[in-house]
């Protein structure tokens, strides 16, 4: 009997379909003050005056906090979090004040009434290829900015066929449906010996991460901060790290004599304050022999980051382990700009990187006259090309073959533009995908016996929609030999043992390993017949195989695209993803994650673009009417399947991560299908009607 692998329905479903699940702003709190952020209207300079008088005259406004009167932080090294600590403005939209009021209406109007004067300086906000010259110290984290093996130039010169193209991806915003929000409440003196002195409810992917960051900037012990995130309305990376609003709320709540502060970031403010994916300009050069075997791969990514914080999108990373080739080079260069702070967005690096690489592979297939599926099979490798390590498991070829079979790939006419249905040009495209199987350190869990046969399992993990509430219960139940109903999971609170971020497709693997380890330790300590109240807390035992093997998940995407020959509209009636992700702990929630990520990939392929105005320095498509994400009508027959397998080298459950692989490669598959439909290669996302219309004949 094992609950791992069974299609258990989501345990928090009922709370969600009724709306009774409590997201941050749903928490009732007595006598709160409402905060509203005031943002800079210059991209660079100094604040010379904050005129709060008119705001303070407005009924209900209690205070206006700015850099002159905000409490001081102990550590201001992280410029994103060091809010209201000085007069320096580093990007347009930076927080320069916060209004506190008795009602949200008064707070909002108070923020409108605050007048800020600036000494404005010339700002550099436009991402230009020529300015991306800085070599980052390292990527995020522990990866070199550049790698090189063999002699790429010589191999390209000798290659029978070469593809040399440049691909562009736009700025993109995560846009989880729940805007970022924080509720902060100080209820004690940090110097006292009492327990928590600060309670923070915040919409985050990592409660312990927020506590650690706040502890650092506040200069207090993390144990004095309790961070709660019972329900989180999506994150997609944007809630992986605390952002400035968390710091503002905590600082503001320090000034209220103990009243809690509720601070919601508006949808528009999210475009400046809660992270985004940088635009990229990626040049990919592929050299191949007559048979389509790659002899050279060169992938160079140009990007931008902010002067406040240097996050680098590791776009060429995916190329380091995807295909064999004797000579290879990857590099990343960034421009430092006076702009909002970029951060993680679902498959940071792999998503834009695989768009470039897998588009180039499709171009190579066309040049060679080789089927694109076959080209990828020919270039498969069972040894990680750069590290030389064996893969813990690499079944990309099976994904490709199964996908081709299920999608009816063999019926595809290789000639672009050959298939038409009325005004619609029809094409089929595909792309491969990989994403690292991350197992993060720093996880522990507690197992406690209740009445016979029943247990509580605690870990400070967060369910951002992934199904963690459900899946962790299944893992715990399987390890305990219990039914899932007999295990009460407790997560989303720093009161529970330390857990790593719900990001990098690492959650189930990292937290599940900790739970499995804790159960083993619990059994060792308390046996098979524990007394009520017996409990054990243990650290995750990391698999030693993780050091000796390259660990990745794989996928293959197949897409049918229809392009209207008169309007340039693209519709995607069919999309199939086949994945190899180790053992699937819960096929219900896993499928939801796969298809969800594929949907986001489709959305990125066709719709998403944040347009930064180079004169102002901020994104002007800053709402959901002008930053389009896929709606119901955009998503038709979309399906995900996976190989039946396990990978015990990565985790004791045999599982690898699944949250991000679905967005890797899917935009390329759409672009490749559009090419097959029309013969037009769009090398900059998103693929919108204007770009296609400009390329149509006549």
């Amino acid at each position: 009997m094992s609950s791992v692998g069974s299609p258990l329905l989501r345990v928090d479903g009922q709370q969600k379909v009724t709306g009774e699940a409590t997201y941050t702003m749903d928490h009732h709190t007595a006598d709160p003050l409402h905060g509203w952020l005031v943002q800079s209207t210059v991209a660079k300079g100094r604040v010379t005056a904050v005129h709060a008088d008119r705001a303070l005259e407005h009924g209900g406004v209690v205070s206006v906090i700015d850099h002159t009167n905000a409490p001081r932080l102990a550590d201001t090294d992280d410029l994103e979090l060091a809010v209201l600590q000085g007069d320096r403005v580093r990007f347009r939209g930076q927080v320069v004040a916060c209004v506190l009021a008795e009602t949200p209406e008064a707070a909002r109007h108070g923020a409108e009434l605050v007048r800020v004067e600036y000494d404005e300086e010339a700002a550099d906000v436009a991402f230009r290829e020529a300015a991306a010259t800085l070599r980052p110290d390292e990527l995020d984290p522990d990866n070199d900015a550049d790698t090189m093996q063999g002699d790429v130039e010589a191999a390209l010169a000798d290659a029978a066929h070469v593809v040399d193209q440049t691909y562009r991806t736009p700025f993109e915003h995560n846009n989880p449906m729940e805007p970022h929000a924080t509720l902060a409440h100080w209820h004690g003196d940090p110097d006292s010996d009492e327990g928590h002195v600060l309670t923070v409810c915040t919409s985050t992917q990592s409660v312990h991460g927020v506590a650690a960051s706040l502890a650092r900037i506040l200069g207090i012990d993390a144990g004095k901060i309790r961070v709660v995130a019972s329900y989180v309305g999506g994150g997609f990376g944007s809630k992986g790290l605390p952002h400035c609003h968390d710091a503002v709320a905590v600082l503001a709540a320090r000034t209220t004599g103990g009243r809690p502060v509720k601070l919601a970031v508006t949808r528009q403010q999210m475009f400046a304050l809660t992270g985004y994916r940088t635009a990229t300009i990626q040049r990919v050069r592929l050299g191949a022999d007559q048979d389509g075997r790659l002899t050279a791969i060169d992938h160079r990514s140009l990007e931008q980051t902010s002067t406040s914080k240097q996050f680098v999108e590791e776009s060429a990373l995916v190329t380091r382990s995807m295909y064999a080739a004797g000579s290879r080079r990857t590099s990343h260069r960034v421009a430092l700009l006076d702009v909002a702070v970029p951060s993680w967005m679902r498959a940071p690096g792999e998503m834009p990187g695989a768009y470039a690489l897998e588009s180039a592979m499709d171009e190579l297939a066309v040049v060679l006259g080789i089927d694109p599926v076959e080209l990828r099979i020919r270039n498969d490798t069972q040894t990680d090309p750069e590290s030389g390590k064996p893969f813990s498991s690499r079944r990309l070829v099976e994904c490709l073959r199964l996908g081709a079979e299920r999608f009816g790939w063999s019926r595809r006419d290789a000639r672009p533009g050959a298939s038409r249905d009325g005004d619609w040009l029809v094409g089929l495209g595909m792309a491969a995908a990989s994403y690292p199987a991350n197992v993060f350190p720093g996880n522990r869990a507690t197992v406690r016996a209740l009445e016979p046969g029943r247990f509580v399992v605690e870990i400070g993990a967060v369910d951002i929609g992934t199904g963690a509430w459900t899946v962790l219960g299944q893992i715990a139940a399987a390890a305990l030999g219990a039914e899932p109903d007999d295990v009460e999971m407790r997560i989303g609170d720093t009161s529970y043992p330390k857990a790593s971020v719900a990001g990098g497709s690492s959650g189930t693997a990292s937290w599940g390993t900790a739970i499995t380890s804790a159960v083993a330790a619990f059994r060792k300590e308390h046996g098979d017949d524990p007394h009520p109240g017996d409990e054990t807390t243990a650290d995750a035992e990391r698999s030693s195989d993780l050091e000796h093997y390259a660990t990745h998940s794989y996928g293959a995407h197949f897409v049918e695209a229809r392009v209207h020959r008169l309007t340039g509209e693209v519709r995607v009636p069919r999309m199939l993803g086949v994945f190899s992700a180790g053992r699937v702990v819960n096929p219900v929630t896993a499928r939801s994650q796969f298809i969800g990520a594929m949907t986001m990939g489709l959305s990125a392929a066709l719709l998403e673009e944040s347009w930064r105005d180079p004169r102002y320095g901020h994104v002007v498509t800053q709402d959901l009417a002008t930053y389009h994400v896929a709606a119901h009508a955009d998503v038709r027959d979309l399906e995900a399947v996976w190989l039946d397998e396990d990978d015990f080298r990565v985790t004791p459950m045999g599982a690898r991560g699944i949250g991000e692989i679905g967005i890797v490669g899917s935009p390329a598959a759409v672009a490749n299908a559009v090419h097959h439909a029309t013969g037009i290669r769009i090398r900059d996302l998103p693929i919108t009607p204007d770009k296609l219309l400009a390329r149509f004949d006549g």
């Binding site: 479903g13 969600k16 709306g19 989180v232 309305g233 986001m600 009417a625 119901h632």
Partner: protein, 168 residues
Amino acid sequence: MGARLQIEIGLTVDGAERRLLVDTRSTLLDALRDRLGVTSPKKGCDHGQCGSCTVLLDGRRHLTCLTLAAAADGREVVTAAGIGPDHGRGGLHPVQQAFLRHDALQCGYCTPGQVCSAVGMLAEAAAEEVTLDDAEIRERMSGNLCRCGAYVNILAALRDVARSEGTG
């Protein structure tokens, strides 16, 4: 100016009569959430661009973020918390049950709005005597964005309900 900047209104919310004093600037969404503690409708964009705040207002699906509370005086609000039998006390609505069966949600934040919108859609289709095929459901649900990408499962759930109700 002698203006009334606050106004007393009455609402029926999930079967309960409520009276409250609201700032004329308050939206129905904020009045429900902040004044009445009815947090089932969610604020996703506050500008009518996402559908997370959808309720049934006098029986029709409606965005509470673009409705002034003052203008809703005397009207009946049904949220996802009270949409089931006996104002939600008697269990889940068939749409909610179908959402659970088909895992038509992930983070759950857009879900109450999706549920209310779906119930409104089914009523509209019945009134129009329209058959809800897949394309109709997708089009008619497009006012509710889901960033987790649960659309495929929401469609499956609503296809189920429409068939059992004879509208699909």
